[in-house]
Symmetry: C2
């Protein structure tokens, strides 16, 4: 019988690496969940589909949830521009209110329906944009909520574990790990914008560029 895991697969660098990592530590029946959440472009989602196809996923669900109904982030609200990276401690307006909580909750629902007890998410609190829902403190609180709010955990003693394997890892080390596991990073998209090539200036591009440089690799997405 397969050892099941569910991976939150946005199609970005982190979630792609999480997919390969989950397999490398022994999960051999891997499910993925992606979200069309009202973001301004679907380039990342197209990469998620490509990653899932190449990888050999057991089941890939794409969930439609329009968070632009309330907005509050430059990623979901057309009245807000996506800013260039700024080297300060402020959380940029690309923060989407409670996004990882929403994604993890829906993932927990899907996981419970499939008797999956291991969920992987590629968040990190190193080389990140300060998003509060990428911190271990949040992941721990969320895991606890899941295990108080699902029948599998409360009644059947099958708690759900949230794995955040890169939470304390530098992004450059994550890239080295991903490459050693065989991921093709040209099938991942990090830029907040939907332009043909990554803009190179948004938070997500700047963090990715810096990490590839530190890791000593060129970014295959840019040579595509």
């Amino acid at each position: 019988m397969g050892k099941k895991a569910l991976v939150l697969l946005s199609g970005g660098l982190d979630s792609g690496t999480a997919l390969y990592y989950a397999k490398s530590i022994g999960f051999n029946e891997i499910y993925a969940i992606s979200f069309l959440y009202g973001q301004k472009h679907t380039k990342e989602l197209n990469m998620a589909k490509k990653l899932a196809d190449n990888f050999g996923i057991k089941e890939h669900k794409i969930v439609n949830l329009d968070m632009s109904l309330w907005g509050g982030s430059s990623l979901t609200d057309n009245s807000l521009d996506i800013p260039d990276y700024e080297d300060n401690n402020k959380i940029p307006n690309t923060y989407v209110p409670a996004r990882n909580m929403v994604f993890l909750s829906i993932a927990a629902s899907y996981a419970e329906s499939r008797e999956i007890y291991d969920i992987f998410i590629g968040v990190s609190e190193v080389d990140y944009s300060g998003y509060v829902d990428c911190r271990q403190t949040f992941i721990t609180a969320m895991e606890n909520a899941i295990n108080q709010g699902t029948v599998c955990a409360v009644s059947h003693n099958n708690p759900i574990k949230i794995h955040a394997p890169f939470i304390n890892m530098k992004k450059s080390d994550e890239i080295k790990l991903g490459i050693s596991l065989g991921i093709d990073y040209s099938n991942t998209w990090s830029c907040y914008k939907g332009t043909e090539k990554p803009c190179g200036r948004c938070d997500s591009c700047v963090l990715r560029k810096k990490a590839f440089k530190e890791a000593g690799f060129s970014d295959p997405l840019l040579d595509k």
Copy 2:
């Protein structure tokens, strides 16, 4: 300035009462959120719209999220029949995996975008179906997760409170309270089925009938 609250409004008896209760304790700018989550009928949702219209809501969001993509509940999965009430301690298959967690997460996202710090949910762990996500333990864990995963709470010291005012209240007392606050219960729908009149046999109907009887009122929905 208004004192804002967000009410999770399914259109059932509990959420309708929560709406009137929130107003009665001083919230005068009330938002509501309802879900089209892949349930088999929309009678409850139509009641939510009617309740919101009659009440004078500041803003009512109806969120489309198809949880029937993975099912796992007789409310969302066409291959499972909705059972009649059974007097035992088993959780019926009407339990929808992690539903209240999903709803509360999305509510938290919407609330944060509107600078709302009080969310109301009509759950109770008295006269209920044993759903684990209706228990205070879960609500407390979820509130903690919200306050570790939102910028308003972590960075700006504006935590979000989840109010579950009926958590320890008998449903008959809740009905007495609702009637004293002026709610018209003919605008609420509890039955799990979408038939013209409530079936009278499902868990939700049986709990509602018992509660109206105990409260000493007739159910106006049945005389409609």
